[in-house]
Subunit: 243 residues, 2 copies
Protein backbone atom coordinates (compact mmCIF):
# COMPACT_ATOMS: atom_id res chain seq x y z
CA UNK A 1 0.00 0.00 0.00
CA UNK A 2 2.91 2.35 0.44
CA UNK A 3 5.05 2.59 -2.66
CA UNK A 4 8.34 4.34 -2.89
CA UNK A 5 7.66 7.37 -5.07
CA UNK A 6 8.84 7.14 -8.70
CA UNK A 7 12.14 8.77 -9.57
CA UNK A 8 10.65 11.79 -11.25
CA UNK A 9 8.83 12.80 -8.09
CA UNK A 10 11.69 12.50 -5.64
CA UNK A 11 14.10 13.99 -8.13
CA UNK A 12 11.94 17.04 -8.50
CA UNK A 13 11.38 17.61 -4.81
CA UNK A 14 14.99 16.99 -3.95
CA UNK A 15 15.96 19.90 -6.18
CA UNK A 16 14.39 22.16 -3.61
CA UNK A 17 14.53 20.61 -0.16
CA UNK A 18 16.50 17.77 1.38
CA UNK A 19 14.47 14.58 1.27
CA UNK A 20 14.47 12.54 4.46
CA UNK A 21 12.34 9.68 5.74
CA UNK A 22 9.20 11.69 6.51
CA UNK A 23 9.28 13.45 3.15
CA UNK A 24 9.75 10.15 1.38
CA UNK A 25 6.84 8.74 3.31
CA UNK A 26 4.59 11.57 2.34
CA UNK A 27 5.47 11.40 -1.32
CA UNK A 28 5.03 7.66 -1.23
CA UNK A 29 1.58 8.05 0.23
CA UNK A 30 0.65 10.62 -2.38
CA UNK A 31 1.85 8.37 -5.17
CA UNK A 32 0.33 5.14 -4.02
CA UNK A 33 -3.12 6.71 -3.89
CA UNK A 34 -2.68 8.04 -7.41
CA UNK A 35 -5.52 7.73 -9.84
CA UNK A 36 -4.96 6.74 -13.44
CA UNK A 37 -6.11 8.91 -16.35
CA UNK A 38 -6.03 8.18 -20.05
CA UNK A 39 -4.50 10.65 -22.48
CA UNK A 40 -6.57 13.74 -23.32
CA UNK A 41 -8.81 13.50 -20.31
CA UNK A 42 -9.95 16.35 -18.10
CA UNK A 43 -8.46 16.21 -14.62
CA UNK A 44 -9.79 19.52 -13.33
CA UNK A 45 -12.42 21.50 -15.13
CA UNK A 46 -12.32 25.26 -15.00
CA UNK A 47 -14.67 26.88 -12.53
CA UNK A 48 -15.64 23.72 -10.75
CA UNK A 49 -15.61 23.59 -6.97
CA UNK A 50 -12.48 21.79 -5.85
CA UNK A 51 -10.38 21.63 -2.73
CA UNK A 52 -7.48 19.40 -3.47
CA UNK A 53 -4.02 19.89 -4.75
CA UNK A 54 -2.53 17.34 -7.09
CA UNK A 55 0.73 15.62 -7.78
CA UNK A 56 1.47 14.49 -11.31
CA UNK A 57 3.14 11.19 -10.53
CA UNK A 58 3.56 10.13 -14.12
CA UNK A 59 2.77 11.53 -17.56
CA UNK A 60 2.32 14.97 -19.09
CA UNK A 61 -0.50 17.44 -18.61
CA UNK A 62 -1.49 20.97 -19.57
CA UNK A 63 -3.15 23.75 -17.63
CA UNK A 64 -5.32 25.99 -19.74
CA UNK A 65 -8.17 28.43 -19.98
CA UNK A 66 -11.05 28.46 -22.44
CA UNK A 67 -12.41 31.82 -23.59
CA UNK A 68 -16.06 32.61 -24.29
CA UNK A 69 -15.34 32.55 -28.03
CA UNK A 70 -14.04 29.01 -27.73
CA UNK A 71 -10.35 29.69 -28.14
CA UNK A 72 -7.95 28.14 -25.72
CA UNK A 73 -4.80 29.37 -24.02
CA UNK A 74 -2.42 26.94 -22.43
CA UNK A 75 -0.90 28.36 -19.26
CA UNK A 76 1.81 25.80 -18.70
CA UNK A 77 2.88 22.31 -19.55
CA UNK A 78 3.27 19.92 -16.64
CA UNK A 79 5.93 17.24 -16.51
CA UNK A 80 6.12 14.20 -14.21
CA UNK A 81 6.81 15.07 -10.58
CA UNK A 82 5.18 18.47 -10.74
CA UNK A 83 2.38 19.73 -8.58
CA UNK A 84 -0.78 21.51 -9.71
CA UNK A 85 -4.10 22.78 -8.45
CA UNK A 86 -2.60 24.88 -5.67
CA UNK A 87 -5.08 27.59 -6.63
CA UNK A 88 -7.88 25.21 -5.74
CA UNK A 89 -6.67 25.30 -2.16
CA UNK A 90 -6.57 29.07 -2.13
CA UNK A 91 -9.77 29.81 -4.01
CA UNK A 92 -11.85 26.74 -3.26
CA UNK A 93 -12.57 26.53 -6.95
CA UNK A 94 -10.44 25.83 -9.99
CA UNK A 95 -9.48 28.93 -11.93
CA UNK A 96 -8.23 26.96 -14.88
CA UNK A 97 -8.68 23.54 -16.39
CA UNK A 98 -6.12 20.77 -16.41
CA UNK A 99 -5.99 18.11 -19.06
CA UNK A 100 -3.77 15.09 -19.51
CA UNK A 101 -1.62 14.97 -22.62
CA UNK A 102 -0.48 11.39 -22.18
CA UNK A 103 -1.68 8.63 -19.95
CA UNK A 104 -1.10 9.85 -16.40
CA UNK A 105 -1.10 8.94 -12.77
CA UNK A 106 -2.28 11.71 -10.48
CA UNK A 107 -2.15 11.79 -6.71
CA UNK A 108 -4.27 14.18 -4.72
CA UNK A 109 -4.18 15.83 -1.31
CA UNK A 110 -7.25 17.41 0.25
CA UNK A 111 -7.21 20.89 1.74
CA UNK A 112 -7.77 19.34 5.18
CA UNK A 113 -4.81 17.03 4.86
CA UNK A 114 -2.70 19.74 3.39
CA UNK A 115 -3.32 21.96 6.38
CA UNK A 116 -2.37 19.25 8.82
CA UNK A 117 0.63 18.37 6.77
CA UNK A 118 2.13 21.79 6.41
CA UNK A 119 2.36 22.19 10.17
CA UNK A 120 3.75 18.77 10.71
CA UNK A 121 6.18 18.79 7.80
CA UNK A 122 7.16 22.38 6.98
CA UNK A 123 9.68 21.30 4.40
CA UNK A 124 6.78 20.30 2.18
CA UNK A 125 5.36 23.80 1.94
CA UNK A 126 8.89 25.13 1.64
CA UNK A 127 9.38 22.97 -1.43
CA UNK A 128 6.13 24.17 -2.93
CA UNK A 129 7.15 27.74 -2.22
CA UNK A 130 10.40 27.35 -4.10
CA UNK A 131 8.67 25.56 -6.94
CA UNK A 132 6.33 28.51 -7.22
CA UNK A 133 9.21 30.91 -7.47
CA UNK A 134 10.82 28.91 -10.24
CA UNK A 135 7.63 28.29 -12.11
CA UNK A 136 6.96 31.97 -11.99
CA UNK A 137 10.15 32.56 -13.93
CA UNK A 138 8.81 30.22 -16.60
CA UNK A 139 5.56 32.14 -16.58
CA UNK A 140 7.46 35.37 -17.10
CA UNK A 141 9.21 33.91 -20.08
CA UNK A 142 5.84 32.98 -21.56
CA UNK A 143 4.56 36.49 -21.01
CA UNK A 144 7.57 37.88 -22.80
CA UNK A 145 7.07 35.47 -25.66
CA UNK A 146 3.40 36.20 -26.04
CA UNK A 147 3.81 39.93 -25.69
CA UNK A 148 6.94 40.72 -27.62
CA UNK A 149 8.30 37.85 -29.65
CA UNK A 150 7.35 36.99 -33.22
CA UNK A 151 5.97 33.57 -34.09
CA UNK A 152 9.34 32.03 -34.91
CA UNK A 153 10.83 32.96 -31.59
CA UNK A 154 7.79 31.91 -29.63
CA UNK A 155 7.82 28.46 -31.09
CA UNK A 156 11.57 28.03 -30.81
CA UNK A 157 11.45 29.18 -27.23
CA UNK A 158 8.69 26.78 -26.30
CA UNK A 159 10.46 23.83 -27.87
CA UNK A 160 13.73 24.66 -26.18
CA UNK A 161 12.10 25.19 -22.82
CA UNK A 162 10.36 21.86 -22.94
CA UNK A 163 13.40 20.08 -24.20
CA UNK A 164 15.53 21.57 -21.43
CA UNK A 165 13.00 20.77 -18.75
CA UNK A 166 12.87 17.21 -19.99
CA UNK A 167 16.62 16.98 -19.75
CA UNK A 168 16.53 18.32 -16.21
CA UNK A 169 13.90 15.87 -15.09
CA UNK A 170 15.86 13.02 -16.56
CA UNK A 171 14.06 12.36 -19.82
CA UNK A 172 16.46 12.20 -22.72
CA UNK A 173 17.98 15.22 -24.39
CA UNK A 174 18.18 15.12 -28.15
CA UNK A 175 15.06 13.13 -28.80
CA UNK A 176 12.48 14.39 -26.42
CA UNK A 177 9.11 12.73 -26.01
CA UNK A 178 6.63 15.33 -27.16
CA UNK A 179 2.95 14.59 -26.79
CA UNK A 180 1.81 18.10 -27.81
CA UNK A 181 -0.07 18.38 -31.08
CA UNK A 182 0.46 21.38 -33.30
CA UNK A 183 -2.84 22.68 -31.98
CA UNK A 184 -1.39 22.49 -28.48
CA UNK A 185 1.71 24.35 -29.55
CA UNK A 186 -0.55 27.00 -31.05
CA UNK A 187 -2.49 27.27 -27.80
CA UNK A 188 0.75 27.67 -25.86
CA UNK A 189 2.14 30.34 -28.13
CA UNK A 190 -1.01 32.31 -28.82
CA UNK A 191 -0.86 31.48 -32.53
CA UNK A 192 -3.03 29.60 -34.99
CA UNK A 193 -2.56 25.95 -35.76
CA UNK A 194 -2.21 26.71 -39.44
CA UNK A 195 0.53 29.21 -38.86
CA UNK A 196 2.35 27.00 -36.40
CA UNK A 197 2.35 24.34 -39.06
CA UNK A 198 3.90 26.66 -41.63
CA UNK A 199 6.63 27.79 -39.26
CA UNK A 200 7.35 24.26 -38.14
CA UNK A 201 7.57 23.25 -41.77
CA UNK A 202 10.06 26.01 -42.50
CA UNK A 203 12.11 25.01 -39.48
CA UNK A 204 12.17 21.43 -40.64
CA UNK A 205 13.31 22.51 -44.13
CA UNK A 206 16.17 24.43 -42.56
CA UNK A 207 17.21 21.48 -40.47
CA UNK A 208 16.47 23.11 -37.14
CA UNK A 209 13.93 20.81 -35.56
CA UNK A 210 11.99 17.75 -36.44
CA UNK A 211 8.61 17.35 -34.86
CA UNK A 212 7.63 13.77 -35.45
CA UNK A 213 4.67 11.94 -34.04
CA UNK A 214 4.92 12.21 -30.23
CA UNK A 215 8.60 13.03 -30.48
CA UNK A 216 10.71 16.12 -30.85
CA UNK A 217 14.24 16.23 -32.21
CA UNK A 218 16.15 19.46 -31.71
CA UNK A 219 18.71 19.40 -34.51
CA UNK A 220 20.35 22.80 -34.23
CA UNK A 221 19.95 23.95 -30.67
CA UNK A 222 22.23 26.99 -31.05
CA UNK A 223 20.49 28.44 -34.06
CA UNK A 224 17.16 27.90 -32.37
CA UNK A 225 18.36 29.56 -29.18
CA UNK A 226 19.54 32.52 -31.21
CA UNK A 227 16.13 32.98 -32.80
CA UNK A 228 14.36 32.62 -29.52
CA UNK A 229 16.65 34.64 -27.32
CA UNK A 230 16.61 31.54 -25.17
CA UNK A 231 18.83 31.61 -22.10
CA UNK A 232 18.29 28.52 -19.97
CA UNK A 233 19.49 30.22 -16.81
CA UNK A 234 15.93 30.75 -15.62
CA UNK A 235 15.40 27.02 -15.41
CA UNK A 236 18.37 26.50 -13.12
CA UNK A 237 18.50 27.66 -9.51
CA UNK A 238 21.75 28.90 -8.04
CA UNK A 239 22.64 25.95 -5.81
CA UNK A 240 23.94 28.09 -2.95
CA UNK A 241 20.63 29.91 -2.69
CA UNK A 242 18.73 26.85 -1.56
CA UNK A 243 19.87 26.57 2.00
Amino acid sequence: MLDTPPGAVTRRFSRFVPIGKPELNLLGRLCSSAERFEARRTVISEGRRCDCMYLLVEGWAAEFRILPNGSRQVLRVRLPGEVFGLDCLAYGTALNGVQTLTECRVGCLSARDYDLLRLELPSFERALFLMLVFERAIGHEWIVSLGRRPAWSRISHLLLEISERCAISGLSTDRTPFPLTQQDVADCTGLTMGYVNRVLGAMRDRGLVLLGPRELAVLDRDALARFAGFKPRYLHPAPESLA
Copy 2:
Protein backbone atom coordinates in the same frame (compact mmCIF):
# COMPACT_ATOMS: atom_id res chain seq x y z
CA MET B 1 13.92 53.95 14.44
CA LEU B 2 11.05 51.52 14.47
CA ASP B 3 7.98 52.87 12.69
CA THR B 4 4.63 51.23 12.63
CA PRO B 5 4.24 50.03 9.06
CA PRO B 6 1.96 52.10 6.80
CA GLY B 7 -1.59 50.91 6.29
CA ALA B 8 -1.06 49.49 2.84
CA VAL B 9 1.59 47.10 4.09
CA THR B 10 -0.26 45.68 7.06
CA ARG B 11 -3.50 45.58 5.11
CA ARG B 12 -1.90 43.49 2.43
CA PHE B 13 -0.22 41.04 4.75
CA SER B 14 -3.28 40.70 6.93
CA ARG B 15 -5.22 39.46 3.93
CA PHE B 16 -3.11 36.32 4.11
CA VAL B 17 -1.97 35.66 7.67
CA PRO B 18 -3.05 36.94 11.06
CA ILE B 19 -0.83 39.84 12.09
CA GLY B 20 0.41 39.76 15.66
CA LYS B 21 3.12 41.62 17.56
CA PRO B 22 6.12 39.86 15.98
CA GLU B 23 4.77 40.25 12.47
CA LEU B 24 4.09 43.91 13.11
CA ASN B 25 7.60 44.30 14.42
CA LEU B 26 9.12 42.74 11.37
CA LEU B 27 7.11 44.81 8.94
CA GLY B 28 7.93 47.90 10.94
CA ARG B 29 11.61 47.12 10.73
CA LEU B 30 11.37 46.55 6.99
CA CYS B 31 9.56 49.83 6.52
CA SER B 32 11.71 52.00 8.70
CA SER B 33 14.83 51.01 6.80
CA ALA B 34 13.12 51.81 3.51
CA GLU B 35 15.02 53.72 0.89
CA ARG B 36 13.42 56.48 -1.12
CA PHE B 37 13.33 56.43 -4.93
CA GLU B 38 12.11 59.09 -7.31
CA ALA B 39 9.64 58.25 -10.05
CA ARG B 40 10.99 56.36 -13.07
CA ARG B 41 14.11 55.12 -11.38
CA THR B 42 15.61 51.67 -11.67
CA VAL B 43 15.35 49.69 -8.44
CA ILE B 44 16.69 46.39 -9.74
CA SER B 45 18.36 46.03 -13.06
CA GLU B 46 17.95 42.85 -15.04
CA GLY B 47 20.78 40.39 -14.82
CA ARG B 48 22.60 42.11 -12.01
CA ARG B 49 23.83 40.10 -9.06
CA CYS B 50 21.43 40.62 -6.18
CA ASP B 51 20.51 38.80 -3.00
CA CYS B 52 17.76 40.77 -1.38
CA MET B 53 14.05 40.69 -1.50
CA TYR B 54 12.13 43.94 -1.37
CA LEU B 55 9.01 45.42 0.12
CA LEU B 56 7.28 48.24 -1.72
CA VAL B 57 6.31 50.35 1.25
CA GLU B 58 4.84 53.18 -0.75
CA GLY B 59 4.32 54.03 -4.42
CA TRP B 60 3.89 52.08 -7.65
CA ALA B 61 6.45 50.08 -9.58
CA ALA B 62 6.70 47.82 -12.61
CA GLU B 63 8.61 44.62 -13.23
CA PHE B 64 9.74 44.16 -16.79
CA ARG B 65 12.10 42.56 -19.27
CA ILE B 66 13.98 44.21 -22.09
CA LEU B 67 14.56 42.23 -25.28
CA PRO B 68 17.67 42.35 -27.46
CA ASN B 69 15.80 44.41 -30.05
CA GLY B 70 15.03 47.02 -27.43
CA SER B 71 11.36 46.31 -26.91
CA ARG B 72 10.03 45.98 -23.41
CA GLN B 73 7.51 43.69 -21.78
CA VAL B 74 6.03 44.58 -18.43
CA LEU B 75 5.50 41.48 -16.31
CA ARG B 76 3.40 43.00 -13.57
CA VAL B 77 2.47 46.25 -11.92
CA ARG B 78 3.30 46.55 -8.24
CA LEU B 79 1.11 48.41 -5.76
CA PRO B 80 1.99 49.60 -2.26
CA GLY B 81 2.43 46.81 0.26
CA GLU B 82 3.58 44.26 -2.29
CA VAL B 83 6.79 42.31 -2.25
CA PHE B 84 9.20 41.81 -5.13
CA GLY B 85 12.61 40.40 -5.94
CA LEU B 86 11.89 36.95 -4.54
CA ASP B 87 13.62 35.53 -7.57
CA CYS B 88 16.80 37.28 -6.47
CA LEU B 89 16.81 35.08 -3.41
CA ALA B 90 16.34 31.95 -5.46
CA TYR B 91 18.67 32.73 -8.35
CA GLY B 92 21.17 35.05 -6.75
CA THR B 93 20.68 37.36 -9.69
CA ALA B 94 17.75 39.40 -10.92
CA LEU B 95 15.89 37.81 -13.82
CA ASN B 96 13.96 40.95 -14.57
CA GLY B 97 14.24 44.66 -13.98
CA VAL B 98 12.12 46.69 -11.59
CA GLN B 99 11.40 50.34 -12.09
CA THR B 100 9.46 52.85 -10.03
CA LEU B 101 6.44 54.46 -11.65
CA THR B 102 5.87 57.05 -8.92
CA GLU B 103 8.01 58.19 -6.08
CA CYS B 104 8.50 55.14 -3.88
CA ARG B 105 9.78 53.86 -0.58
CA VAL B 106 11.37 50.46 -0.76
CA GLY B 107 12.46 48.28 2.14
CA CYS B 108 14.87 45.43 1.64
CA LEU B 109 15.73 42.16 3.33
CA SER B 110 18.96 40.30 2.64
CA ALA B 111 19.06 36.59 1.86
CA ARG B 112 20.87 36.04 5.17
CA ASP B 113 18.21 37.81 7.17
CA TYR B 114 15.47 36.18 5.23
CA ASP B 115 16.80 32.75 6.08
CA LEU B 116 16.99 33.53 9.77
CA LEU B 117 13.59 35.08 9.66
CA ARG B 118 11.70 32.31 7.99
CA LEU B 119 12.66 29.85 10.70
CA GLU B 120 11.89 32.24 13.49
CA LEU B 121 8.64 33.59 12.03
CA PRO B 122 7.10 31.00 9.72
CA SER B 123 4.00 33.06 9.17
CA PHE B 124 6.11 35.40 7.08
CA GLU B 125 7.01 32.81 4.50
CA ARG B 126 3.47 31.49 4.69
CA ALA B 127 2.22 34.96 3.70
CA LEU B 128 4.66 35.12 0.82
CA PHE B 129 3.56 31.69 -0.30
CA LEU B 130 -0.07 32.72 -0.46
CA MET B 131 0.82 35.94 -2.19
CA LEU B 132 2.62 33.92 -4.81
CA VAL B 133 -0.42 31.77 -5.41
CA PHE B 134 -2.62 34.81 -5.89
CA GLU B 135 -0.17 36.69 -8.02
CA ARG B 136 0.11 33.66 -10.20
CA ALA B 137 -3.57 33.91 -10.96
CA ILE B 138 -2.95 37.45 -12.14
CA GLY B 139 -0.09 36.21 -14.24
CA HIS B 140 -2.38 33.63 -15.83
CA GLU B 141 -4.83 36.33 -16.71
CA TRP B 142 -2.06 38.25 -18.43
CA ILE B 143 -1.04 35.19 -20.39
CA VAL B 144 -4.60 34.72 -21.55
CA SER B 145 -4.81 38.37 -22.55
CA LEU B 146 -1.55 38.35 -24.45
CA GLY B 147 -2.20 35.05 -26.11
CA ARG B 148 -5.85 35.12 -27.04
CA ARG B 149 -7.52 38.47 -26.51
CA PRO B 150 -7.70 41.28 -29.08
CA ALA B 151 -6.34 44.72 -28.28
CA TRP B 152 -9.60 46.11 -26.94
CA SER B 153 -10.02 43.33 -24.45
CA ARG B 154 -6.41 43.41 -23.37
CA ILE B 155 -6.56 47.07 -22.54
CA SER B 156 -9.95 46.87 -20.86
CA HIS B 157 -8.78 43.96 -18.82
CA LEU B 158 -5.65 45.70 -17.67
CA LEU B 159 -7.51 48.81 -16.64
CA LEU B 160 -10.14 46.85 -14.75
CA GLU B 161 -7.56 44.73 -13.02
CA ILE B 162 -5.62 47.70 -11.82
CA SER B 163 -8.71 49.57 -10.79
CA GLU B 164 -9.94 46.58 -8.82
CA ARG B 165 -6.62 46.01 -7.15
CA CYS B 166 -6.54 49.64 -6.15
CA ALA B 167 -9.96 49.33 -4.62
CA ILE B 168 -8.86 46.26 -2.69
CA SER B 169 -5.77 47.90 -1.35
CA GLY B 170 -7.81 50.88 -0.23
CA LEU B 171 -7.12 53.41 -2.93
CA SER B 172 -10.33 54.89 -4.28
CA THR B 173 -12.59 53.16 -6.73
CA ASP B 174 -13.98 55.31 -9.49
CA ARG B 175 -11.07 57.62 -9.91
CA THR B 176 -7.99 55.56 -9.63
CA PRO B 177 -4.53 57.04 -9.48
CA PHE B 178 -2.82 55.81 -12.63
CA PRO B 179 0.83 56.60 -13.12
CA LEU B 180 1.21 54.43 -16.23
CA THR B 181 1.89 56.19 -19.50
CA GLN B 182 0.36 54.90 -22.69
CA GLN B 183 3.74 53.44 -23.49
CA ASP B 184 3.55 51.51 -20.23
CA VAL B 185 0.10 50.24 -21.08
CA ALA B 186 1.46 49.13 -24.42
CA ASP B 187 4.32 47.31 -22.73
CA CYS B 188 1.87 45.55 -20.42
CA THR B 189 -0.45 44.47 -23.19
CA GLY B 190 2.09 43.56 -25.84
CA LEU B 191 0.82 46.30 -28.15
CA THR B 192 2.25 49.43 -29.68
CA MET B 193 1.92 52.83 -28.09
CA GLY B 194 0.32 54.19 -31.24
CA TYR B 195 -2.31 51.52 -31.28
CA VAL B 196 -3.00 51.79 -27.58
CA ASN B 197 -3.60 55.46 -28.12
CA ARG B 198 -6.14 54.82 -30.86
CA VAL B 199 -8.04 52.29 -28.80
CA LEU B 200 -8.00 54.49 -25.75
CA GLY B 201 -9.29 57.33 -27.89
CA ALA B 202 -12.15 55.21 -29.17
CA MET B 203 -12.98 54.13 -25.65
CA ARG B 204 -13.05 57.73 -24.53
CA ASP B 205 -15.36 58.65 -27.41
CA ARG B 206 -17.74 55.90 -26.35
CA GLY B 207 -17.75 57.06 -22.77
CA LEU B 208 -16.13 53.94 -21.39
CA VAL B 209 -12.99 55.22 -19.72
CA LEU B 210 -11.14 58.44 -19.31
CA LEU B 211 -7.41 58.23 -18.99
CA GLY B 212 -6.31 61.60 -17.76
CA PRO B 213 -2.86 62.63 -16.66
CA ARG B 214 -1.91 60.28 -13.81
CA GLU B 215 -5.53 59.36 -13.25
CA LEU B 216 -7.96 56.79 -14.56
CA ALA B 217 -11.74 57.10 -14.49
CA VAL B 218 -13.67 53.95 -15.30
CA LEU B 219 -16.99 55.30 -16.56
CA ASP B 220 -18.78 52.18 -17.73
CA ARG B 221 -17.37 49.28 -15.79
CA ASP B 222 -19.94 46.78 -17.02
CA ALA B 223 -19.45 47.42 -20.70
CA LEU B 224 -15.71 47.28 -20.19
CA ALA B 225 -15.96 44.01 -18.28
CA ARG B 226 -18.03 42.57 -21.08
CA PHE B 227 -15.39 43.42 -23.68
CA ALA B 228 -12.62 42.10 -21.54
CA GLY B 229 -14.27 38.98 -20.23
CA PHE B 230 -13.20 40.34 -16.87
CA LYS B 231 -14.30 38.35 -13.85
CA PRO B 232 -12.77 39.76 -10.68
CA ARG B 233 -13.05 36.48 -8.80
CA TYR B 234 -9.39 35.74 -9.36
CA LEU B 235 -8.42 38.77 -7.29
CA HIS B 236 -10.42 37.63 -4.28
CA PRO B 237 -9.50 34.64 -2.13
CA ALA B 238 -12.21 32.47 -0.64
CA PRO B 239 -12.00 33.59 2.98
CA GLU B 240 -12.50 30.11 4.43
CA SER B 241 -9.54 28.77 2.52
CA LEU B 242 -7.02 30.85 4.47
CA ALA B 243 -6.89 29.00 7.73
